[in-house]
């Protein structure tokens, strides 16, 4: 693995997750230029246990579209964690 390939991802937080972290975003480093959402989820679970991601039914949005676990995301993507919604 090449150290020059470290990349940062910015992940937007909303609602209860934003409040838990007291932050609008998480900035994380990955060892590659991209990562699948499945890997990202596992990574976030390990890195931020206080988010409680394994307890709530979250979904990722990439560039404002709901995406499944097999999508790869990179630094230029707008990534957001969408906790269960309650608008209306």
């Amino acid at each position: 693995m090449n150290l020059t390939e470290y990349t940062t991802l910015k992940i937007r937080l909303f609602g209860i997750l934003r409040e838990k972290m007291d932050s609008d975003n998480l900035i994380i480093s990955i060892h590659n230029t991209s990562i699948s959402l499945k890997e990202l989820r596992k990574y976030l679970e390990e890195l931020y246990p206080s988010l409680g991601l394994n307890e709530i039914n979250i979904v990722f949005a990439v560039n404002k579209v709901i995406r499944n676990d097999y999508m790869n995301v990179k630094s230029s993507d707008e990534i957001a964690i969408i906790p269960p919604i309650s608008g209306g």
């Binding site: 949005a61 969408i82 919604i85």
Partner: protein, 139 residues
Amino acid sequence: MISTTKDTIYQTKIFDQIKDDSCGAIVSFTGLVRDHNSKGKVEGIFYEAYDEMVEEILRNIEKEVFKNWNIKKFIAVHRTGYVQVGEISVIVAVTSEHRKEAFEACSYGIENIKKRCPIWKKEKTQFGNEWIEGVKISE
């Protein structure tokens, strides 16, 4: 017209915009903050939205509505920020020549807003503030 807004939503203003002299039917759905939940009194609700994504989804819903029904105008506005009891949290209004289409399009609009828009609410109650348990967002 579709948007999220931090400002008070007035039924009158929406009605003035949705009116059209060429159309005989307006159907509107108005969601308001209720004064209670299952546990007791509610004072208001904080609405938080992923605004840019909500507006993208509202645009999609608007396209779907115009594709599926022969309607003239469509308005969908969702409040964000603190909304007091009795204030409007969301409004969907449809103008068409025929009432059946207006009813169907309006119902489709609010159902899809509830299912697809990344919006979260936290109730302000006598016991403090609490995030409302939501449902998994639909694509």
